[in-house]
Amino acid sequence: MATTPTSTPVPKTNRIGLSIAEYKGGKTTLCAGCGHNAISERIIDAMYEMGVSPERVIKPSGIGCSSKAPAYFMSRSHSFNAVHGRMPSVATGAMLANRNLIALGVSGDGDTASIGIGQFVHLMRRNLPIIYIIEDNGVYGLTKGQFSATADLGSKLKTGVINDLPPIDTCVLAIQLGATFVGRSFSGDKRQLHSMLKAAVAHNGTVMLDIVSPCVTFNDHEGSTKSYKYMKDHEEPLQDINFVPVFEEINVEYDPGTTVEVTMHDGSRLRLRKLEEDYDATDKILAVKRLAEGHAKGEVLTGVFYVNTQAPNFIEMLNMTDNPLTTLPESVVRPGREVLEQVMEELR
């Protein structure tokens, strides 16, 4: 006979009293096994564990399978599916109008590195407070598998077409241009991605994460450099990442010789245990150099490549009012009559 439980278990809740179910989204319509689905799962976990209030989150995205993903996590947050490649400017406008929002942007490699590269480049310069995720499969999934600009030189499509151009490394671009938290991960590397996303939530400024996310339908075969198999064989983490949120006790000491500890804006700690002796994620030049070397050697480096917790974010730099523009009452929403009268006086 089956045992009957004596009491219904209370669902576990996070520090703001929400259960993980409250971070879930709609049922995915993406292909089973698509890397994008795994990333959605990691986002749900990270947001739940960090105790982010879902109502404050805005999920801007572009167009693509990846850009549809925000529908499949955090239903209690606001979604904005913009047009193809234009999420960066939409997100900038929204954040300037309401600085209280938490922006979690989702894009694809086509949405970012092809049609949207201009917008991406300018977003990176701003250090806008946003987590910008590229779900990178090296192809345009939604339009049935053509190469994107992150596809590696020589990688092969199912149809036999060989990619004849070198890839754009969005991490190098982001580091050079001014993003203050830049990393690469893999949708299949649960532990690393999880820690990186939690650290992303704690960061003040632009977080740019390029997450290799295999497209099982169009780019997961022999000859692809963005397949599950290729990633399992070639992923080279630079660090072992451990994130200790500000609200958790620190009970493990670390060895400063082997680990770099970064104190985040909110007091959380990001611990990067070096797997490569000389790597220092606070050194911009080193980061760019190491990535370039990786390309030359055909390595797929992952980890937090660069982090700068000191730079002011865009909104701080613009010296805006503390109250979001969008909440200003009508009485202050426009300049008073005197201001316009004074301006007119100057035109007389």
Binding site: H78, S89, T92, G93, A97, N98, L101, T326, T327, R334
Partner: protein, 597 residues
């Protein structure tokens, strides 16, 4: 006929045409005179030929007029181009050391200034300009004090010595004219009025501030850049977040992002930038996020003539973005209207949650007009429509987002709009077609019933917009020999042409269109039903408005007057064309611009 006085100042870019222009404008407006200024220039920083026309008078001056009363050529080229166009009563003041006059018409006074004798030209490179201002004002019968004040203000930043030097030079010109030149027959009067002199760009920017715009962004493009400059210069004072963005695609999307988050957002560009905004406008329509986009037209296609005016973007705007969607398009009638149209547009787009487009042009954007600030209304009504900015007691149920449906199907087509972050009103805004909840319909199966319902919901807003916009009205006598139809910036010049025609025995009235979409086609046909002879006047090649009117109403006028040489109409262009058409000689007139600028 309206009494006016026009000054033309010509020279190469970099020769300082603007300063005398500003000084004359200031003095005229302080005497309570109306004025209109138009600068014909080229897209170069130095050289070329610039010709500034300032026309003033005690009554409204709506355009640059037909003739120059005082010509001030700053170089030989300007003398050669313009002298022959002067007629009886006019005068030409010039530097006798460097410029030779050509043949003049009867009764034109030549006023040579011995510049090197009157001023130390080794010290002051623009002495000829200042002498000419002094001489000109003397001939107009205006006191030297007025000029002294204006010069003091102009140069006070550069210090006492510069002021004294310039006042001295001006005095020399003033006194020289008193002894050597004949004064003008018609002295400019003074009135009690105090006008401000505005460009259309400044007016639109201020209109935005008055409408409560909190976000403005742009990528520089002539002739729209003046809006950005005003916004940037007054951002702090007016409390507006102003950003220069990397391109117009970024501009429109950023404005929509800000608007989506709940503020009034505006941007301005010219035809080329507007072309890049097309996809974004569709997004605004699909997400039902109101945004106001200004297109300051310049002569196209492509880079076209960046410093010249045209009304050539109408069909681009009508065709902007793919698919059917509700929107509002309006064209300001004059520089004062540039101010007023912005708050009106914002109220409409906020109420109807759709893009609003303002079709301005270089003539208004960069032209200047005296405006009585009292006529503008600095605190227009702000109607944000059905906007939900606070939860207002709505329970923030954790399991659901409440019953809120962002795209709820309503009779008016308007669904109450919640801004992001309002508890209980979470939703998805998507460029994909969606259902009432904002869920993409292509995520299930492309539901034809839902698609049709959403399409009809959005398009129902058009009925409301039509009702909110007044139909145009006929100006002038009911039964006229000729009815002139125009749109936007041609308002003033057509009005003056009608007056001149009436004085010449041809009664004329005017139908000027301000709201282009939706167009009150039936009302227009009703107005024109009794008209004896109708002519559509517009600043483009193909008669873009004429074609649009026909497509919306089947109305075909008797004739057309068009101009697409980059310069605006002058009253006589229209007057002569009307006369030509009334004799039955032609139904299409394309007046030539006699002034070579």
């Amino acid at each position: 006929m309206r009494q006016t006085f026009a000054i033309g100042i010509g020279g190469a870019a970099g020769q300082g045409v603007a300063t005398p222009g500003d000084i004359f404008a200031k003095i005229f407006s302080r005497r309570g005179l109306h004025l209109n200024a138009y600068n014909a220039y080229q897209s170069i920083i130095r050289g070329g030929h610039t010709f500034l026309t300032i026309r003033a008078g005690p009554e409204k001056v709506t355009n640059m007029g037909d003739c120059i009363d005082l010509l001030i050529p700053l170089n030989q080229d300007s003398m050669n181009r313009h002298l022959a166009l002067l007629s009886t009563g006019a005068a030409c003041i010039y530097n006798a050391d460097t410029i030779k006059p050509g043949a003049t018409g009867d009764g034109v006074q030549l006023c040579p200034l011995p510049v090197s004798k009157l001023a130390d030209i080794t010290r002051n490179k623009v002495a000829q300009n200042t002498l000419a201002i002094g001489a000109g004002l003397n001939m107009m019968g205006i006191s030297f004090q007025a000029l002294e004040n204006a010069l003091t203000e102009q140069f006070k930043k550069k210090g006492e010595a510069v002021v004294t030097e310039n006042v001295g030079i001006a005095r020399a010109g003033y006194d020289h004219a008193a002894s050597k030149f004949k004064p003008f027959a018609w002295p400019l009067p003074m009135t009690e009025n105090r006008y401000a002199v505005l460009s259309g760009n400044i007016a639109m920017a201020m209109g935005g501030a008055a409408a409560g715009v909190k976000f403005y962004c742009a990528y520089p493009m002539s002739p729209s850049t003046g809006v950005l400059h005003w916004m940037a210069a007054h951002a702090r004072k007016a409390g507006i977040m102003v950003r220069q963005v990397e391109d117009e695609i970024g501009v429109v999307n950023m404005a929509i992002g800000a608007a989506h988050a709940g503020v009034r957002a505006m941007c301005a560009t010219s035809g080329g930038g507007f072309a890049l905004m097309s996809e974004g406008l569709g997004m605004s329509a699909m997400m039902e996020t109101p945004v106001v986009v200004i297109d300051c037209q310049r002569a196209g296609p492509s880079t076209g003539v960046p410093t010249k005016t045209e009304q050539g973007d109408l069909w681009q705007m009508l065709g902007a973005a793919f698919g059917d969607y509700p929107r509002v398009i309006a064209s300001p009638l004059d520089i004062g209207d540039c101010f007023k149209i912005i708050p009106e547009m914002f109220n409409l787009v906020d109420r109807f949650q759709c893009p609003g487009m303002v079709l301005c042009d270089l003539l208004l954007s960069e032209g200047r007009l005296s405006v009585d600030p009292k006529d503008l209304g600095f605190t227009p009504v702000i109607d944000r429509g059905e906007l939900i900015t606070t939860a207002n007691g709505t329970p923030s149920s954790p399991a659901t987002s409440g019953d809120y449906r962002r795209y709820e199907i309503t009779e008016s087509g308007i669904s109450p709009r919640a801004i992001p972050g309002v508890p209980g009103h979470v939703h998805t805004a998507a460029t994909d077609e969606h259902d009432e909840d904002g869920v993409l319909i292509s995520d299930e199966f492309t539901n034809t019933v839902k698609r049709r319902a959403m399409m009809e919901k959005r398009m129902r807003k058009v009925t409301g917009i039509e009702a909110a916009i007044p139909p145009p009205a006929l100006w002038g006598p009911r039964n006229a020999d000729v009815t002139l139809i125009g749109w936007g910036s041609t308002s003033g010049v057509i009005e003056e042409a009608c007056e001149i025609l009436s004085e010449q025995g041809i009664s004329a009235n005017q139908l000027q269109i301000r709201w282009l979409v939706p167009l009150h086609g039936e009302a227009i046909v009703e107005i024109l039903k009794g008209a004896r002879h109708t002519i559509i006047v517009e600043n483009n090649y193909s008669g873009q408005f004429a074609r649009y009117l026909r497509s919306e109403s089947s109305y075909v006028p008797n004739g057309y007057i068009r101009k697409y040489d980059g310069e605006p109409f002058m009253p006589h262009h229209i007057v002569e064309a009307v006369k030509e058409q009334l004799t039955g000689k032609t139904t299409l007139s394309v007046p030539a611009h006699e002034i070579m600028v």
